[in-house]
């Protein structure tokens, strides 16, 4: 990968991907918990989640837990591949495999 994936090159989007990648396969993370993990505001986080969802990197499930609305997110297979590739890209830069 000579050029990074523009979608997850953005710092907060990369953090969202990292938080979801840390979950066991098939698991979902609640929006409120994700917000605490990546230390973002609700509006900012919502906008970046939309971008990742449009790219089919994450899946967003909305339902009700009792009477409270709940949003849960998980990484798709495409998202897992994109994240893995991006981390490999970062390692390649550190190892000097990608010229500046």
């Amino acid at each position: 990968m000579e050029q990074p994936d523009a979608i997850i090159h953005q710092k907060l989007r990369l953090k969202i991907m990292a938080a979801l990648k840390a979950l066991p396969r098939g698991e979902r993370l609640e929006f409120v918990r994700l917000r605490a993990i990546v230390n973002a505001t609700e509006g900012n986080l919502g906008a970046h989640i939309g971008t990742l969802e449009n790219a089919a990197y994450i899946k967003v499930d909305k339902d009700f837990n009792g009477k409270k609305p709940r949003t849960r997110l998980s990484l798709t297979d495409a998202g897992t591949r994109a994240y893995t590739d991006y981390v490999a890209y970062l390692r390649a830069i550190i190892d000097g495999d990608i010229p500046r």
């Binding site: 698991e27 605490a36 000097g96």
Partner: protein, 185 residues
């Protein structure tokens, strides 16, 4: 858009920190309902044992049966609607079952001479398990294990006849509080 090696290293560090925080939060979230469940059951079990010591065995058979059934229910319900592999759904209930069997086998071999010893041994095993879990799962598990162990030893060594009441209030209470603490992490 290319990063320098220094920037790439910083980004990798940030990403690793987020992964670590997320994995820890996930473990806390999954572990919390079991602590709260067993905390309530300990309070009921030790409370009933303190009230009717001669019915202690029957009380704990019922408490353990309810606890195991509820642990399995939590394990399966918490994964409902996800694509989580079946193996993972069995993880927490499986740990509870293995612990239960280990405690039973150890008691059969060691043959404790008083119910109080059994009443102290079980929480110590649970505390040990949580402290171990904390080594890779997060500091809060270690703290929960240490508090349960300290409360159990204090009750066993210092309170004599009031041990069951102490464990109902402090042992069960500590488990519930630890569960709520994990949930809020």
């Amino acid at each position: 858009m290319t990063l320098s090696p220094h920037e790439a290293a910083d980004t990798l560090r940030d990403v690793a920190a987020v992964e670590d925080r997320s994995a820890r939060a996930y473990g806390y979230q999954r572990g919390s309902p079991y602590l709260i469940l067993w905390g309530i059951l300990w309070t009921v079990g030790y409370g009933l044992t303190a009230t009717w010591p001669q019915r202690g065995n029957a009380v704990w058979i019922a408490i353990d049966a309810i606890g195991m059934a509820a642990s399995f229910a939590i394990g399966f319900r918490s994964h409902a609607g996800t694509n989580v592999p079946a193996r993972r759904r069995w993880m927490f209930p499986g740990i509870a079952l293995i612990t239960f069997v280990f405690i039973g086998a150890t008691l059969a071999v060691m043959a404790p001479v008083s119910p109080k010893q059994i009443g102290a041994f079980v929480p110590l095993v649970v505390a040990f398990g949580y402290a171990l879990r904390g080594i890779w799962g997060g500091l809060r598990f270690v703290v929960a294990g240490a508090v349960i162990a300290a409360a159990t030893l204090a009750g066993f060594l210092l309170l004599g006849a009031y041990f069951d009441l102490w464990m109902a209030a402090v042992g069960g209470g500590a488990l519930v509080l630890a569960g709520v603490w994990l949930l809020r992490a």
